[in-house]
Amino acid sequence: MDFAFTPEHEELRQTVRRFLQDRSDEATVRRLMVTDDGFDRGTWKQLAEQLGLTALIVPEEFGGSGLGPVELAITLEEMGRFLFCAPYLSTAALAVTVLREAANDAAKQELLPAIAKGERIVALALAEAPGLWEPSDVRMKAREVGGRWTLTGEKTAVIDGQTADDFLVVARSSQGLSLFRVRAEADGLQREPLPTLDLTRKLARVRFRKTPAEPIAAAPDVQPQLERAFLLGLVALAAEQAGGAQQCLDLSTQHAKTRWQFGRPIGSFQAIKHRCADMLVAVEFAKSAAYHAAFRAQEGDEAELPVAARMAKAYCSDAFFQVANDTIQVHGGMGFTWEHPAHLYFKRAKSSALLFGDSVHHRDRLATLIGV
């Protein structure tokens, strides 16, 4: 059943929110976003040890809480609200999902408990420029000589690539699409932090030159598993976008109530009020899209997941950008300053819209799925 949130879900939301109010206030975000690592290791440790959030979707047999896409969506929605600077999306969401779906037991045994404890940062190296976001787009070839595998090529938009301890690299073998674990210190691996549009999310380009890689795929060809993991990643990111959009609406509404011009609050002008009303519609639709996809994923609705996930990523990308863009406009000159947080959300909105494929890309895939 869609939207059947429980009291436990609300409790999780409040727990995450309280933690972030304390640990991801605007001053902290601004301090961390200009550091090389982009996050605070002390906060990450607390997130793992006190809240157990790094273990959220790690299966219980590997030391996790064994929760699913709905709980992950709630967590990321709150993180999106606060622009939480941490390798949560990369490690606790994407890497865990890819390991769960496509890795063999030995790799899961080695990496999942360590992620759950907050001891390892693991980044997914999937995309290859330009516009090759999907597992099926991967061209990088893995070579095997005498039982030893190496990778050569380049991956881009690797989230938290500069701080990762391990990379999960998607590459092709002669038998199909496969998955490799590459240690950050491996020979021939070179990572280049990118000067990102969105300072609150660190990206790197990672080059491999005959880099030793450990094959960890659960099967000779894990393309279907990786595609499912990719869809689950879209759902997670869509939830984060919905949270960011809600925060933008809240900032704008608050400003419209308290900013006076012409002897009255600007929110009493219909030009502003109606813009806010349209933002509200976009935010509510974005939440419906993200939650619906999360519930479909949670219930293992394999037929509906591709439709719901692509719909969520396409809609939430556009909605978050629209709302973030409107937030600058509602704030007027103040919204254009460095000092005001509007630009942080604006940049996050555009960057997350482009990440994993933009709305045009996902609508194209969706169109095929629904027969348009």
Partner: protein
């Protein structure tokens, strides 16, 4: 919920089954069947016994509808039988009417023997309906009414009109209104068809010239008309804005069918790509309209209603207009022709069985989606002020007698 008498779903179903056994819907006529349904308390289950109800939770009405549908061909849709009477008038009458009026009117309202219409809007009072100018002046036991109403659905077949008129022009606008039930056959009531963008007249203009209404037909007290009207209007807006309840259903389904059936060479590849993206956007929005209504119901059920329940009317109106616009663009040259023509007449549903004809008609008809039942501008005000808590617009009509409010032209 303690105001309602408890009743199990099974007991209620049993009552419906008994009704159907005594009055087989496929064998008796509509008035007989629906009259019996009323007598069995299955018309508005939350109304008291003796008034078409059983005094039970209104949510149980869905059980009645479900049980009525089983194993029969003949199923009546309340919103087709007497939409304004059953959906809006009866709840208002139940709340504010005298016992005498309830007993005289509710049963025939439900059976459809007496159709109802709503006389609120005026040429000079659309969004600002509380500013209306139709005057009612007391004369002994009667009120004498003069004025003009507009956009009146079903007035040409209606027996009863829900009328709001001004009984005191010397107080602020909301305070000087009173609410009446008007017998549409009274002398001085003149109904004229109002032809709309499609050439058809779904609606009417109603002219009231020295119409007499006995005082006992007033609902609520003199001067309480606005409060009574709100009861009616609240029952209107809930009927709008949930989108289709079926995945992929409603207008988007028609657009997708027309797209699928297009001649292969109608669009160049680049043109097709643009239209395909547009249709997919509209599909997503249609789904999200449906899902947001579903989420609103779910949150309501969990006792935790939020803003998700308020966005439907605005979102649906704007979306449906865009869908029909896109359908015209997909049809291209085919949409240059409007087969039914614009001969001024009453509407006929029969002509719209064909989905292409339906789309062309809806392209025109849907212009009203963002006007009727609250314009999109008013809906944005409501979302901004009631949901987001933004301050209202400074007003020039507040706290001053209605007769002194500035009026254009």
């Amino acid at each position: 919920m303690s105001q309602y008498r408890p009743m199990t779903e099974e007991e209620l179903r049993e009552r419906v089954r008994r009704l159907k056994a005594e009055y087989p819907p496929d064998k008796v006529d509509m008035y007989t069947f629906r009259g019996a349904q009323y007598d069995h308390g299955l018309a508005w289950v939350h109304f008291p016994e003796g008034y078409g109800g059983l005094g039970i939770n209104p949510k149980l009405q869905a059980i009645v509808a479900d049980e009525l549908r089983r194993d029969v061909h003949t199923v009546y849709d309340d919103l087709a039988v007497n939409p304004i009477g059953i959906g809006m008038g009866a709840p208002t009458l139940m709340t504010y009417g005298s016992d005498e009026l309830k007993r005289a009117l509710l049963r025939k309202c439900f059976t459809g023997e007496e159709i109802w219409c709503q006389l609120f809007s005026e040429p000079g009072a659309g969004s600002d309906v509380a500013g209306l100018a139709t005057r009612a002046v007391r004369d002994g036991d009667d009120w004498i009414v003069n004025g003009q109403k507009v956009w009146t659905t079903l007035a040409h077949v209606a027996k009863w009109g829900l009328l709001v008129a001004r009984t005191n022009p010397d107080v602020p606008k909301h305070e000087g209104l009173s609410y009446f039930l008007l017998d549409m056959q009274s002398p001085g009531v003149e109904v004229r068809p109002l032809y709309q963008i499609t050439g058809e007249a779904e609606f009417n203009e109603v002219f009231l010239n020295d119409v007499r209404i006995p005082h006992r037909y007033m609902l609520g007290k003199e001067g309480q008309g606005w409060q009574v009207a709100i009861t009616t209007l609240m029952n209107e807006r809930t009927a709008l804005g949930g989108g289709s309840t079926q995945k992929g259903g409603g207008p988007i389904q028609v657009l997708m069918q027309i797209w699928a059936a297009r001649p292969p060479k109608r669009h160049k590849p680049a043109e097709a790509a643009v239209l395909r993206d547009r249709i997919t956007r509209l599909y997503i929005e249609s789904e999200l309209l449906r899902l947001t209504a579903l989420r609103a119901r779910e949150m309501m059920r969990a006792g935790n209603p939020g803003p998700e329940g308020s966005v439907g009317k605005l979102a649906q109106a704007e979306l449906y207009k865009k869908i029909w616009e896109c359908t015209m663009d997909v049809l291209g040259e085919e949409a240059l022709v409007y087969e039914p023509g614009y001969a001024l007449r009453r509407p006929s549903q029969e002509e719209r069985r064909d989905k292409v004809l339906l789309a062309k008609y809806q392209f025109l008809r849907s212009r009203a989606n963002s006007i009727e039942g609250g314009t999109s501008e008013i809906m944005r005000n409501i979302l901004g002020e009631r949901v987001l808590g933004l301050p209202g617009e400074p007003r020039t009509d507040k706290g001053i007698p209605w007769k002194d409010i500035p009026r254009g032209g």
